[in-house]
Amino acid sequence: MVNILWAGMIAAAIIIAGINGKMEVITPIIFASAEKAVSIALSLISVMAFWLGIMKIIEKSGFIHIVIFFLKPLAYWLFPGIPRNHRAMNAMLMNMSANLLGMGNAATPFGIKAMEELQTLNSRPDTATDDMCTFLAINTASLTLIPTTVVALRAATGALNPADIIGTTIIATFCSTSVAVLSDRVFRHYNRWKNKGTVPDPKKKKEIKKIRG
């Protein structure tokens, strides 16, 4: 699906620019975007290094159990297949906490760390596991209690009470997150039913868990 979307976006852009006689914009856009991508990745190095350093301290000292206390039941319910004290669970919980609190750039490093830990439980390294899909589902739906960026933007554009959209945002977030979690479950079971026994090999997965857990 990503392949179709990717090729489709590029093809549509080139064809439409051609029809509109704006073909000369295509090449500059390509290289400006590519440069932006590299600069995003480079600026991510600083953020990642700092937050992963702090994450290590939080984990090693046991402080993590205080940070993630309230979210634990939710995460255990969402990811029944991940051992409770596994580092993947810790990183996912830190990611969810950072998202909820609107901690901006802290959520991404924790999320990437979580993916790396989830990958150690993956028996097919080029294919997403069920748990990865669920984790991505809640991240694309943006689990948030305090939409800091939007509130700041409202303050900047002269809203009388910039925070009065928090209520509606929480309700809308709840809707999008519920749809994400639900559709993730539906797709998962549909896939299992479709390729009975072939695709996500549950036996192999269990063995790996035993070793790592």
Binding site: A32, T127, T140, T157, G158, A163
Partner: protein, 179 residues
């Protein structure tokens, strides 16, 4: 004290106080804080560099789609259909941009607020939409890219469904609360 100033204080305090508490706690638990920090921070470089090919591929597609006029055309073609569901035409570009590009979506939100007013129904609707969904394509690219996963299965469909749900919920709730 207004809710905004309380929120503002929370959002300013949360990161520094987390760091402070973590350090104090770790120090008294006998963790060698600086060594541990460096050990963790080391991993940041490799993870970020591994992302570059995935980000380049996706950002080029997004840039082309957005700036070539393709996005505008598709928005215009689909507009009558989407008005049927009840999404106002003015917030339509935002609804389309939100899953694709976070920074462009934020720019559209700012524009809607400037044009119609931050306290208008449309302004509040845009703010709610912006806050209640995330940039699906960016999240997928970064998270899967970091670990080199190429077969992403149904995650794109799930992310886009969630975006649609968030956008529809934002329109519905804002109509209910702010009209």
């Amino acid at each position: 004290m207004s809710p905004f100033s309380i929120l503002n204080i929370i959002s300013i305090w949360v990161v520094p106080s987390l760091i402070l508490l973590a350090l104090i706690f770790a120090y008294f638990r006998g963790v060698k804080v600086f060594e541990t920090f460096v050990e963790g921070a080391k991993e940041g470089f490799g993870m970020s560099v591994r992302l570059i090919p995935f980000l380049v591929g996706m950002m080029v597609a997004i840039g082309l789609f957005r700036d070539s006029g393709a996005m505008e055309l598709i928005t215009r073609v689909l507009a009558p259909l989407i008005r049927l569901i009840g999404i106002p035409t003015e917030v339509l570009p935002l609804a389309f941009m939100r899953p694709i590009s976070g920074s462009s979506a934020l720019a559209i939100t700012a524009e809607i607020m400037n044009t119609f007013g931050a306290d208008s129904l449309l302004g509040r609707m845009a703010a709610t939409m912006q806050g209640s969904t995330d940039t699906t394509l960016f999240v997928l690219t970064v998270y899967f890219g970091a670990v080199g996963i190429k077969r992403t299965r149904y995650t794109l469909a799930v992310g886009l469904l969630a975006d649609l749900a968030g956008i529809l919920a934002a329109v519905f709730i804002c109509n209910l609360v702010f009209k």
